[in-house]
Symmetry: C3
């Protein structure tokens, strides 16, 4: 089956067969990562630009490794020291870089919609690596891949996403993707951190952690992103931990074994306690590994290359 999409801007509206196709392709690349020679010549001569307008380590490194293991040529562009500081528009920066005969652009930007904008002014394939509070589709895909690897078919699987839903592109991509895959999705957090229109997405909303845990099989714990909150939306980190922190004690009250996920980096002792993060039910490091495979799959499929 040929993949007909050109961009990956978000998981909202992406049909199930496309998600399945990406997940199946990722399985092939995931196997490559276990080989001694973790490299294929698939994208030789293809040029990818990583346009990171927000500081990032793990997402940039994950994309960079995916690109190198596909044998693509890549250039990194970060906002500091760039022509943007010389007053150039995003459109001009992007069109100029594209004029160097770029095939694909991976963009992270603090403005929601920046990847969509690029997809309209450029001919290259655009991959959204996180745009403001909008979406982070490769994170959503790697979460789905990792969860499927653990529990199989996602139909009816109950996932609760806990934390700062309002500022989380990770939550948005998870919600859209998980719903499409048939999971039941809930969110839980302080009322100040949950957007009012959540229920319109077909998502349950819990303001009580106990009700959320009663409901869920899988807990996706979001990072409290202090750097992204413009103002204080809860009284203190200690209070957040007391009310919403995922601790061993809290989980032990239920007669089920929760699957634990977290997009990282973890604030240990705030949203997630160390013994839960490092327990055998935690998929956290697997998420990181699978992230490289998902990004290889997305890069490969959007390139239009045949293997």
């Amino acid at each position: 089956m040929k993949f007909l999409k050109k961009h990956l801007l978000g998981l909202e509206g992406v049909p199930k067969e496309d998600l399945e196709h990406i997940l199946e392709t990722a399985k092939y690349f995931r196997e490559i990562l276990d080989r001694p020679i973790k490299k294929v010549p698939t994208l030789t001569g293809v040029t990818v630009v990583n346009l990171f307008f927000e500081a990032s380590t793990r997402t940039r490194i994950s994309f960079e490794l995916a690109e190198k293991r596909l044998s693509a040529d890549l250039v990194n562009f970060s906002a500091s020291g760039s022509s943007l500081s010389k007053g150039e528009t995003l459109k001009d920066t992007a069109r100029n870089i594209e004029a160097m005969m770029i095939d694909m652009v991976v963009i992270r930007h603090s403005s929601p919609g920046a990847p969509l904008f690029l997809s309209r002014v450029l001919k290259s394939s655009i991959i959204n690596a996180g745009d403001g509070c909008h979406e982070h589709p490769t994170q959503g895909l790697l979460d789905i891949y990792t969860l499927r690897e653990k529990v199989g078919d996602l139909s009816g699987v109950k996932v609760v996403i806990i934390g700062d839903i309002a500022h989380s592109r990770v939550a948005m991509s998870n919600i859209h993707g998980l719903k499409t895959m048939g999971a039941e999705v809930a969110v839980c957090g302080p009322a100040t951190l949950i957007p009012v229109e959540m229920d319109k997405l077909g998502v349950k909303v819990f303001y009580s952690i106990d009700e959320a845990l009663e409901f869920a099989d899988v807990i996706n714990v979001l990072r409290i992103q202090l750097e992204r909150q413009k103002k204080a939306t809860f009284p203190s980190l200690r209070e957040y931990h007391d009310i919403f922190g995922i601790t061993k004690e809290r989980l032990s009250k239920y007669k089920k074994e929760f699957v634990i996920m977290h997009p990282g980096p973890i604030n240990r002792g705030i949203e997630l306690d160390t013994d839960v993060a490092d327990s055998k039910h935690s998929l956290i490091l697997r998420q990181v590994t699978n992230g490289v495979a998902i990004r290889m799959a997305v890069l490969y499929l959007l390139s239009g290359r045949e293997i």
Copy 2:
């Protein structure tokens, strides 16, 4: 024909046959950029260091892509966080890097003559990627390449370079290269931004934009580089735009179709209006594309490798 030069420090004094040889070689590499696999093994095992002592995005990326598409190994060195901040001299930094068995050095530096200095203390080939107000020869070459692609033989073609001539290495490299190729060259700008000795280079000087446009077939609009001016050399950006800005209205007074060039990044609405920059007579994005081909040609020719 074997290329006998070892360095590219500037276009001043470079004979026409050498310019022709670079331009012809670039044509070969330009074709490669249109292929699905934009990569050749020409410089496999050759090591290039990009020594950027001034912040730069597009020139660095252009060189980096040229190097990668030639399969060279490259390392990037930027001034911040370097041994220079530990008090090391440029000579020591360069000799130390060369001692790691480097073949070629691409240098951008705020001091005119830094590349010449390196060519005297190092055995590597040196490519000037811009040295203060002196020269930016690969920019001059890509401008000439792009103009030839558009208008053919440059003999008698009338080019006016408009803007801050005094602070512009781009202007200098264009003047030297275009004159050698047989073009008639003029400069135009506020008197404070035109060096007194301009006419000694065989260049016409216009202080009136109308006289300049009367003369010219081709307009190379320079960026107003606010960051490079030590003091205010004209009253305001608005006044600069009113007197020297290239607008559709201003051009429409003449019964000819001007070719529009700009080295980028554009200050839209200051030195160049958007409808002119994006018109069909604008070569601006082609300049960017051809820049990669020119840099591939220069790297290849100076390497002494046979294809």
Copy 3:
């Protein structure tokens, strides 16, 4: 002989046969650096992460070139703009990067023991590229390689290390490695810059430069690392130069030709005068060249790959 070590954390306690094995392997890679194609496919598909928590130019570039010339895939990670600034622990950062299926980690860190810590929490091979005042083993190895290349067998060769011994990981690695190779090692510097327990390492201590020069065949001059001293440990740079600076005049009082080494970057006119640094008895640039070969050898041997 298969190399059985997995990590290179320091030279302390490394047996002579292991040092010999690394030095012999480096000889093979040193020859490759003289070829027109300075590249071998030895580590194709192996992924190395350069984790630099301290700013560094030459060591990072040297490792990067070693990795590229072995055809490894590499990603650079520097502390600024990283998840560490988001409050992540070193352990989490490292385990997350390793989860991307990394084979080897090159780490530079301001805390002594950071590489040892990583070797305990990661499965990857760890190479110490300098940890606080502890060790810098590849520098020690390249110094030993370069000295052997010059003088042959090191048994009984008299080496004095001059300068800020207390803050120098270079001194520590040299002392351990040189002692194992049979050299006689002394240190010399202001009393404030020499740790009290030096003699326990079997190292002579000289507080007088004249006694040190009387003793030595080889002078390894350390850089005065002003940035690493927490407080002033000597009155002034001028006084340091007058009392401990290595000048032509000072050396000419002895009827022997000293071999001169320095790990770079040199503070010319402070710890070392220009005519000594650039004399024919100086091995300084050779140290830099051999550093790439040593790092290639270490990367290759720890990878467990067969050539």
